[in-house]
Amino acid sequence: MNQHKQAAALSRRDFVGGAAGLTLAMSFAAAGRFGIDDAEAAEGPLVANVWVTIAPDDTITIMSPAAELGQGSFTALPLILAEELDADWSKVKMAQPPWDTKRYGNPEYGNRLSTTSSFSVRGYFTPLRLAGAQARRVLLDAVAAKWNVPVAELSTEPSLVVHQSSNRKISYGAVAAFAQAPEELPKIEEKDLKPTSAFRLIGKDVPRVDVPLKVRGAAIYAMDVQVPGMIYAAVLQSPYDGGSPQTVDEERARKISGVTDIIKLPAGVAVLGTTVEGTQAGKNALKVTWSNAKGADFDSERALTEFMEIARDTSRRGAEYAKTGNVGPALMDAATVMRGEYRTRHTYHAQMEPLNATASVSADGKSVELWAGTQGPGSLIDEIAGLLKISAANVKLNQQWVGGAYGRRSQNEVVVDAVLLSKAAGKPVKLIWSREDDMTSGKFRPMTAQYIEAGLDAKGKIVAWHHRVVAESVSAYTAAARGNAPPKTDQIVMKGTPIPCYGIPNKLAEHVVEARGTRVSAWRGVGVGHNAFAVECFLDEIAKATGKDPLAIRLELQEGQPRAQTLVRTVAEMSDWSRKREGTGLGIAFMEKDDTLAAGVAEVSIDRASGKLKVHNFWAAIDPGLAVQPRNVAAQTEGGIIFALGHVLREKITIKDGRVQQSNFTDYQVTRMSDIPNVQVKVISTDNKPTGAGEDGVPLVAAAVGNAIFSLTGLRLRELPFSQEQVRGALGA
């Protein structure tokens, strides 16, 4: 079997056997010369290219390469292709492609298969448009030949090829019944694509295909997978990174009903058995001692103080992340230098579906089938192939609907453990983390201490900006986990420091990496989340010192950046910025993440006796370039604002003696319904290429709320979360 055939056969099994939730009335068509035997292609379906297959019954099947984490890409990506194909959307079905990076990888990622960084629409937009236009051209050419008319005389209507002068129409399905794609597919260039004014689907808010399943409890997540003959597993993990089990007292665990076996893993002890509740109870009954490791005595409270001292000590240089002009001399020459300090805590993803995976290693150990929800199917397959020392072609991944990710599911250690356990047990194993496991073995947004120095000239204009971030490096952490050397810079921690929309002639952003052995990862909004908090609060401090309005100072710095200015003006208008309020204060923030721009205004009040903070309103505006699904962009932004409110009000992971101190939603309190402000989002779709839109509400919240507290009380809060204790303490001081 050649490689293409393997991929196609694998994918066909994916659809039939595996991800039932993803199999939306899936009838996977023969892949013709791109995959399965050509013989199957007779009498249609028409495999127009690797992305799209048209069946004689008019069904159009489009590959959807991104994981559906809740962000809506599973709908948005096929929609882009359907637009250029001029498809009747009601006839479109989505399919999960084979995990073939050459064909389906995201070009924004060097063709890796990964659903992170809000890169799906951004990366696939042009390739999918070209693929759609190419498939349309295949149809037109086939009809032109059949009817013996010049192709230029043909046009399309949704799923119809039209020859106006002879008043003939033929459905795409009818074309598929006789046509085959040519050996060499037609070349399509960007100039051949539709003008945006002709869009029927892009920008028109097509309902998401996953929603009907999700309101009936019919979407199958990894947690819902059941495989014949499977057993369950729970794992007691090392409390800190790098610890391995030394002594294991399993006597009590063995006596628990349903427990059948106990197996040591590299970084944990697994309890296997016939029930979820039995294996979980067995895990809780284990007594294990752990080998020492770097993070074993980490104390986050002590470390944060140390981080702040390091941040202030400018003689300790960090890794340069972004640089404009020459900040050192500019600070020396400045009329005034202002300094600001900010701190943020480790935060936990709290995706509603605790991490879990099901794995079935074949008896000979030469192949494996996986059921998982992952943000990195490509890297997962490579990792498992390496683990079992088998070819990646023998790793069959059934990607499931994903119950929240926010960055956490780009690391796949739970799948690795499930594979090791299946191999050891000789059976399919479903490994489930409890919420406590998920939290205490969390990989957090790194804690940061930040120090910014700004130089102002005699007129109060900012001429120098030096931003220092002291934190773990997420990129170094994940590289080390894969046995790689750390990269020079860490964009996960440092995004949000280059502030390209602010015209400051001399800028420097440095990352002082403090590797303390903490488990870390990307968290929704990545570095922009904690960095925009510091940047935007500090800008307000400068505004205050120079007698400027917080709105005016931003517009001034954004001179020549009309997209940014439009957003700032929009939220000013939405919030009626200049109107005096009684008992509430307004604060503004702006952010840029991977070319997407957003602005927000928060309105807050404080109960002075208790220190309780209430956010009443949040107005936001976002420019993600061309908005493919504007309503979904608004929903994502709204969701991001509500998500982020939790780490502004309460969420905080603390670590003592290497052990995470929080364990469930009782002591790690995420946003609840009673916390939410009235959120209004305006999506400003512009004629720029689409960028991302899944995370951009997040970075606005901390700074807008912090600035609103300042405007209300004159108090500058420098550390997240703005807990009741912190607010009360600040008010009392």
Partner: protein, 150 residues
């Protein structure tokens, strides 16, 4: 052996009476619409109805439902036509969707006893159900829509 009714069908579960109803529903009866989120009744993802009242199935021993009637998301309507399910689609509420079965079951119990709840009553009823994607505002809108449109 515990005998009870799920979505109108008689069921018998040959498990220890202490087994949480959640795992009986999900792993034994293979009805996976009811979700595991926290295991301590702190998130609401596992919400089902027992004799019409919303309960957290993750902390409910199956022995407690002996002879009683359990409704899960799969039984809320035969075909997704409950007013809340329709409103959830119209408002495009779900994002990752994992919490939404619990949200809908919790909201259904509210509408069953209060046909026209105020915003405050909705928030009070729904505050135990976490949605990490941040769809709360849409959930409120969908409950109000279902109340309006029945």
């Amino acid at each position: 052996m515990v005998a009870f009714t799920v979505n109108g069908q008689k069921q018998e579960a040959g498990v220890d009476g202490e087994t949480p109803l959640l795992w009986v529903l999900r792993e034994h009866l293979k009805m996976t619409g009811t979700k595991f989120g926290c295991g301590i009744a702190a998130c609401g993802a596992c919400t089902v109805h027992i004799d019409g009242a919303p309960v957290r199935s993750c902390i409910t021993p199956v022995s407690m439902v002996e002879g009683r009637s359990v409704t899960t998301i799969e039984g809320l309507s035969a075909d997704g036509s409950h007013p809340l399910q329709k409103a959830w689609i119209t408002e495009q509420v779900p994002q990752c969707g994992y919490c939404q079965s619990g949200q809908i079951m919790q909201a259904a119990a509210l509408l069953a006893r209060n046909k026209n709840p105020s915003r405050e009553q909705i928030v009070e009823q729904m505050d135990g159900n976490i949605c990490r994607c941040g769809t709360y505002q849409k959930i409120i809108a969908a409950i109000q829509r279902a109340a309006r449109e029945g």
